[in-house]
């Protein structure tokens, strides 16, 4: 090395050779950069190739496998990406949902408020469960974390960014949760692929085709792919794919594709999963001294903590469970094409809130977001997202469903 160190100082006749040698040195950084770029590009492609070879299984058997799955201990990292095609649901939800509006001055550790965040963008979550009594869910933010911890009858939420905590006891949580059992408080938030899959299978009926479509590797585990598709046309949902662990039947990945193609609306899957018993300390929480703690009854949260998907996707409630969501709500159609007809005020859908008690500026903003339509029913405005569309007629009726704009107009025409 040492003699080379003076390369280029000789000059004269050996100038060109030395110049070439000088230039040759730059090959090293270029080569390193090239190899690195190639590795970064190729490794995921190589890793994802080669679906595992698993024995054939029928859709029915696979669904039974999910139902029979008794895995109670797991921990893992979940990546969830949602794209409903809303400009920014976080901000909008604030003006729509009364909980959001009243949230000013409320605790930032309130579960309902934080779970709305998941409805847009990409988030990394960590989940851990140890039996029916201990669950934990954390949203990993930049340099902060939001954790929802359930241990026995205690439910804690801790927001490290604002250093605020939220506390509920099972009684209280059970009361708040209303129809659903308190067991589901953290688990009921369908951020795990399992909960999402259950929501979909609940809605599956004669209007649905369920097939097994090959295998895949998810989080390093072999999985079957269960594809659920609406049979009727007119739905905005193209297909739902659930990857189910071949060994223990735990759903590992959930993908919801819209009917009009493009990026998945919801894509949630484990990136790491471990079915051994999680560390017991994960489920204990004592608020640090000085942390502001909001008790559930002080929080005046009008929504229950485990409202989950129903709360996240307006209309999903109607889709899944008929008219239990709101008074003055009627369901038109069935299965995937179900449309909720809500007579305002008093509905629980997302936009109808606006018609009641939203200032004029917000109303204008809403008008700008929607498309004007007219038909036999009169005229109205259609608000579109990639999944849920809503038609708000000028006479105060709202039709919401995971159906196309035409189907909504059709429903309104038939109803009038």
């Amino acid at each position: 090395m040492a003699p080379n160190d003076s390369a280029g100082t000789d000059g004269g006749t050996r100038g060109t050779a030395a110049g070439r040698r000088k230039a040759a040195r730059y090959i090293v950084p270029v080569a390193v950069a090239g190899v690195a770029a190639a590795t970064i590009g190729l490794v995921p492609a190589l890793a994802s190739s080669g679906d595992p070879d698993l024995p054939k299984i029928s859709a029915q058997e696979l669904i039974e496998k999910i139902a029979a799955s008794d895995t109670e201990q797991l921990s893992g990292t979940v990546k969830i990406s949602t794209d409903f095609g809303l400009p920014s649901l976080g901000g909008l939800a604030e003006s729509f949902a009364p909980g959001g509006a009243g949230g000013k001055g409320g605790s930032s550790a309130d579960p309902q408020e934080r779970m709305t965040e998941l409805a847009s963008g990409t988030h990394t979550l960590r989940v851990a469960a140890d039996g029916p009594d201990k669950q934990r869910l954390s949203i990993l933010d930049n340099a902060s974390e939001y954790s929802l911890i359930r241990n026995g009858d205690q439910v804690w939420a801790y927001d490290s960014k604002s250093d605020q905590a939220y506390h509920a006891t099972e009684d209280r949580a059970g009361k708040d949760a209303g129809k659903k059992s308190a067991h589901q408080v953290p688990e009921g938030v369908p951020t795990t692929p399992k909960a999402l899959a259950e929501q979909v299978l609940k809605a599956a009926g004669p209007t649905t085709s369920v097939t097994v479509d090959g295998t895949a590797q998810v989080a390093g585990r072999d999985a079957y792919q269960l594809v659920v598709k609406p049979k009727q046309s007119g739905s905005t949902i193209g297909s739902v794919t659930v990857a189910v662990d071949a060994k223990n039947g735990v759903p590992l990945k959930f993908t919801l594709l819209p009917a009009d193609g493009g990026k998945a609306v919801v894509d949630a899957g484990f990136t790491k999963v471990d079915f051994s018993k999680p560390d017991a300390s994960s489920f204990t929480f004592t608020p640090p001294k000085g942390t502001e703690v909001t008790e559930a009854d002080e929080a005046k949260a009008p929504h229950k903590a485990d409202k989950g998907l129903d709360g996240l996707i307006p209309g999903a409630e109607q889709l899944g469970s008929g008219d239990q969501g709101a008074k003055d709500t009627k369901v038109i159609g069935e299965g995937w094409n179900a449309i909720a007809e809500i007579t305002t005020p008093g509905g629980t859908g997302l936009p109808p809130k606006a018609s009641g008690d939203v200032p004029a500026e917000a109303q204008q903003f809403l008008d700008a977001l929607g498309d004007k339509v007219s038909g036999k029913f009169g005229s109205g405005t259609v608000f579109k997202t990639r999944l849920i569309n809503a038609l708000m007629t000028d006479d105060g009726k709202v039709y919401v469903g995971a159906v196309t704009k035409d189907a909504l107009v059709q429903a309104a025409n038939n109803a009038s």
């Binding site: 040195r25 954390s138 974390e145 490290s160 960014k161 994960s282 640090p288 001294k289 000085g290």
Partner: protein, 295 residues
């Protein structure tokens, strides 16, 4: 021009391995004894003092900090009142985007170009060390400075935090508790990770430093590059580029405060820094070993 160097290097007298440490030691003492370096370290040490006093004054009446500002404050600031150890993390979060890399950029940019502009580079090359070894020594001393600068911030923050706020069991950002000893251990680990986060940028600074003969130009270019990259990292429309930018995963050190520790981004960060160090380090080597030294 550099016959002396060539003659000595070619004379077959292999320098002992200890010799490398000799020049590293002299390099380090020169770097760390400069008034400029001491002033930089002084500024870095003052930042935690400033934050600590500000938080203390604001929360004197028992309110929690950032009440008026709400969102947008530096990370970990709200926990500082509960546990002084969090001042270490808050101070690192405040200094990592600008102050720390700026100090590193000044030292790295100055490393070769400063010698060139002061006219001392040729004398350094006369020493029988070889250019590669000299460059490695320069890089090593910049890396040591990265660690020293980070430790200055961390230790100053620890002292101020312990003086002004209670210390004790640490609540991780996941809500679980760890003892104060383990908290200190994690703080030390975080300081090392933060220092390691700066190694990629230090290599970039070293490369820039070999390009020019003016110390000021090299420092300005290095710091300017840092600011440009930070701006690009902040533009959401360019998100496809972000994973390749050296500051992108800097804040991942916070993942060490989760329970269990979330290593993914920390590992990505260290890998990226290593890649930058290799690419720009070898580019600096290609440039420096083939360069005509005129000053």
């Amino acid at each position: 021009m550099l016959q002396a160097e060539a003659a000595v290097a070619g004379s077959g007298r292999a320098p002992s391995p200890l010799w490398t440490f000799g020049i590293l030691r002299s390099e380090l003492t020169t770097t760390l004894r400069r008034w400029r370096t001491l002033a930089l370290l002084g500024v870095l040490a003052a930042v935690p003092v400033l934050i600590g006093i500000a938080v203390r004054i604001e929360t004197n009446d028992g309110s929690s900090p950032g009440q008026g500002g709400g969102e947008g404050g530096p990370a970990f600031l709200s926990q500082v009142t509960n546990n002084g150890l969090f001042l270490v993390f808050a101070a690192l979060a405040v200094t990592l985007p600008v102050f720390l890399p700026m100090a590193v950029g000044v030292v790295a940019g100055d490393s070769v170009a400063g010698e060139a502009s002061a006219g001392t580079l040729r004398y350094l090359l006369v020493a029988p060390a070889g250019r590669t070894r000299l460059l490695l020594t320069k890089y090593a001393s910049v890396l040591v400075f990265c660690l020293v600068a980070t430790l200055v911030v961390a230790l100053s923050a620890l002292a101020v935090g312990a003086l002004l706020f209670p210390v004790g069991e640490v609540t991780t950002i996941s809500g679980t508790r760890i003892g104060f000893g383990e908290g200190l251990l994690r703080a030390g680990l975080i300081a090392v990770v933060v220092a390691a986060s700066l190694t990629g940028f230090a290599a970039v600074g070293l490369f820039v430093s070999t390009l020019t003969g003016s110390g000021i130009a090299a420092m300005a270019a290095t710091v300017g590059l840092l600011i440009t990259v930070q701006i690009v990292d902040g533009i959401p429309q360019l998100s496809a580029l972000h994973p390749y930018l050296f500051p992108h995963y800097w804040m991942s050190y916070a993942d060490l405060l989760r329970a269990p520790v979330y290593w993914d981004e920390v590992v990505k960060n260290l890998g990226l820094q290593g890649l930058y160090a290799v690419v720009f380090g070898s580019a600096a080597w290609a440039r420096f070993t083939a360069k005509d030294i005129t000053a």
